[in-house]
């Protein structure tokens, strides 16, 4: 990971609150804080993994970054330009540089268009002229993602799930983007196909110098492809760190619990593994717990966790965590610095 002075993507205090209305005149009575103050940078060439359980806001975050949704607060800065409230028209040229891969390879491709038309659409929409014509360019991309270029005239239903996801990837690559947001890119695929697509994403990153933000719930997949990982819980980042630090010495109890919950294909150790079992489900983002949102399920929670929200503090180099009682923290680190703590 290279340290560059200006990150490719910078997210500062990003918020998305969906209003809840009530009564005769639809008066706003509250808000679902789907994303509630996210800050992180993504530098060129790296992969940031965004993990969390359903309702944590990871998909909303992806849509905010690509401006499929408009943030209600905070800033999204892409290549030094503030795109937070840019109009759709002004965004259009930027869409070339920022693309999205979706989860479901079945529903994200128009069944009535040929592969050639689907992958070639970005050229037409952006009005890009290519040296040897669009068809040649599309066939080159198909080859790049491991599809047969001769399948140019086939329809999506003639392909298997894995191949369809390759078509989806080919479409995003058409205009040589700089940043790709991948929302659960492999979770709808069979195990053997998942690995193919993960490898493809890695190869493409090396070849085309891509930057990824990968949104996923599968912690092992995220570890495999990410350089840095952010863990989200109910609209907030609770921990963000380099891959190795996060997986080997997680500081936030939630991260620890998540890692412990992943079933591991190791029969010898299944009886001896120490398990941390969280009680209950993720609370509703409609009415999240006060202060530290994890305190209702945390085995380390104390009184302060219910009253003072722990800030996201850097406890080791590049390792930020929002917890009053972090695990694996260096001795001199001051968790949840009292000076910056936000009273709930």
């Amino acid at each position: 990971m290279s340290e560059s002075p200006e990150p490719l993507l910078s997210v500062q205090g990003l918020e998305k609150h969906f209003p809840i209305t009530k009564g005769l005149i639809k008066r706003q009575v509250g808000a679902v804080k789907a994303v509630d103050g996210l800050s992180f940078d993504v530098v060129k060439g790296e992969t940031l993994g965004l993990v969390g359980e359903s309702g944590c806001g990871k998909t909303t975050t992806g849509r905010l970054i690509t401006r499929l949704l408009e943030p209600t607060g905070g800033k999204v800065v892409f290549e030094g330009r503030d795109i937070t409230h840019m109009s759709q028209g002004a965004l259009r040229p930027l869409r070339r540089d920022m693309q999205m891969i979706f989860q479901d390879p079945y529903s994200s491709l128009n069944p009535r268009h040929t592969v050639g038309a689907i992958v070639g659409a970005p050229f037409r929409i952006q009005g890009v002229k290519t040296e040897h014509g669009t068809k040649k360019a599309v066939q080159d991309i198909l080859e790049l993602v491991g599809l047969n270029p001769e399948h140019y005239n086939r329809y999506p239903h003639e392909f298997s799930g894995g191949q369809r996801q390759r078509i989806g990837i080919a479409r995003t690559l058409a205009l040589k983007p700089k940043l790709i947001i991948a929302d659960e890119p492999v979770s709808a695929l069979d195990v053997s196909i998942q690995a193919q697509v993960v490898n493809l994403l890695e190869d493409l990153q090396n070849e085309l110098d891509l930057t990824y933000v990968v949104i996923a719930h599968d912690l092992s997949v995220v570890r495999h492809i990410s350089d840095r990982v952010a863990v989200m819980y109910l609209g907030k980042i609770v921990e963000i760190a380099d891959r190795q630090a996060l997986y080997e010495a997680p500081m936030h109890p939630y991260t620890t619990a998540l890692l412990s919950a992943v079933p591991v294909p190791d029969v010898k150790r299944r009886t001896e593994r120490e398990r941390i079992r969280l009680q209950g489900d993720v609370p509703s983002p409609l009415n999240p717990p006060s202060a530290c949102r994890f305190h209702t399920r945390c085995w380390k929670a104390q009184e302060i966790c219910k009253t003072v929200e722990p800030p996201l503090a850097e406890l080791a180099t590049g390792h930020q965590v929002a917890c009053h009682f972090p695990e694996n923290a260096p001795k001199d680190a001051v968790p949840g610095d009292a000076g910056t703590a936000v009273p709930a």
Binding site: S54, G161, L219, Y247
Partner: protein, 341 residues
């Protein structure tokens, strides 16, 4: 005779495009109190097998042959009505997505009560008490209140608990769970797996868990059956499958999944190609077009269907490679790569 025995079970579906051989000669045994994990990708025939055991293909277009022995009774030749009376009582099923698997218009309680009363002639009040009791046992808080909720008012984890309560309401001796945790979040998945493990011990039922997730299988199973193209390609104890697997497909599955319990590998080792179409199953060994070692079978791979043979102590493998060579490949070529860099 074992509690459950499948003997050369075949489930074929005639379609306009040809005969779909979803399950093509499946044989296995399962005792009470034991757990069998059936692993396979989409189209491997694992779900069709479970529906066949429950007799849910009866009366449909499926052509079923072979034998299914449950507690000394043969089910393939039994009447549909007789199998129906066993369903829900002697054998029950937990489905993947509890949101779509429960009727959206009826309360959770009504659906459990219905399941109980079809097999027990008791009053509604008695059945309701039983349902509350079951909901409590699967860990739903305030069951006497939640029993009147609709499925959509439950969270994903609670719904799956309710589904389990429904399946267990008649104390079945055989429980089949089809991808029971696939739709759930990881922390909730862990809770449900714990719950299933505990309940199985409590009820001493035979459990079949069907999944694509090797991690889930490893957590629960005593024995594991790996399916590919409608056939069993490897069968053994959990240790056999995870410690000394002998089929190239099993190796491929293990190489495909990133694992948290080991150091990160630089690259995953996927299986090339895609799962076979069940209409045009490849000739010979169905796996041969995707097999990395197909060349070492001396040309048998695409002409002869390999037999499922015992390699040692109940560990069965369907592969043309000689036993010694398989072991050598595992030890020297596969295992070191899985161990990571």
């Amino acid at each position: 005779m074992s509690f459950l025995e499948l003997n050369d079970l075949r489930v074929h579906f005639p379609t306009d495009d040809g005969l779909v051989k979803s399950v093509d000669g499946l044989t296995f045994k399962l005792e009470r109190g034991k757990t069998l994990g059936i692993v396979g990708e989409s189209g491997s025939g694992k779900s069709v097998t479970s529906l066949a055991i429950l007799g849910l293909h009866k009366g449909g277009r499926a052509m079923i042959s072979g034998e299914i022995w449950l507690d000394g009774e043969e089910l393939v030749s039994a009447s549909a009505e007789h199998v129906r009376t066993l369903r829900g009582k002697k054998m029950a099923m937990i489905f993947q997505d509890p949101l779509s698997a429960m009727h959206p218009y009826y309360t959770v309680g009504a659906q459990i009560v219905e399941a109980y009363r079809i097999h027990h002639h008791v009053s509604k009040a008695v059945a309701r008490k039983h349902a509350i009791d079951m909901l409590g046992r699967v860990g739903i808080p305030q069951p006497e209140r939640r029993i009147d909720s609709y499925p959509h008012e439950f969270s994903g984890g609670m719904r799956q608990r309710a589904m389990i309560a429904m399946a267990l309401s008649c104390d079945p001796e055989l429980l089949i769970a089809d991808e029971p945790t696939t739709a759930l979040d990881v922390t909730v998945q862990a809770q449900i797996l714990d719950l299933m493990r505990d309940l199985q011990q409590e009820f001493n039922s035979a459990l079949i868990i069907i999944t694509h997730d090797l991690g889930v299988v490893a957590e629960l199973s005593d024995d594991i059956l790996v399916m590919y193209g409608g056939k069993c390609i490897e069968y053994g104890t959990a240790e056999d499958i995870f410690e000394r697997p002998e089929h190239p497909y099993t190796w491929g599955l293990l190489g495909s999944m990133p694992r948290l319990d080991r150091a990160r590998t630089e690259r995953l080792m996927p299986i090339k190609g895609t799962p076979p179409s069940l209409i045009n199953v490849p000739s010979g060994c169905a796996f041969h077009p995707r097999c990395a070692f197909e060349g070492r079978t001396g040309g048998k791979a695409n002409t002869q269907v390999p037999e499922l043979l015992e390699t040692e102590g109940g560990h069965l493998v369907r592969c043309h490679l000689p036993r010694e060579e398989r072991r050598a490949i595992w030890e020297n070529e596969i295992k070191p790569n899985l161990e990571s860099v």
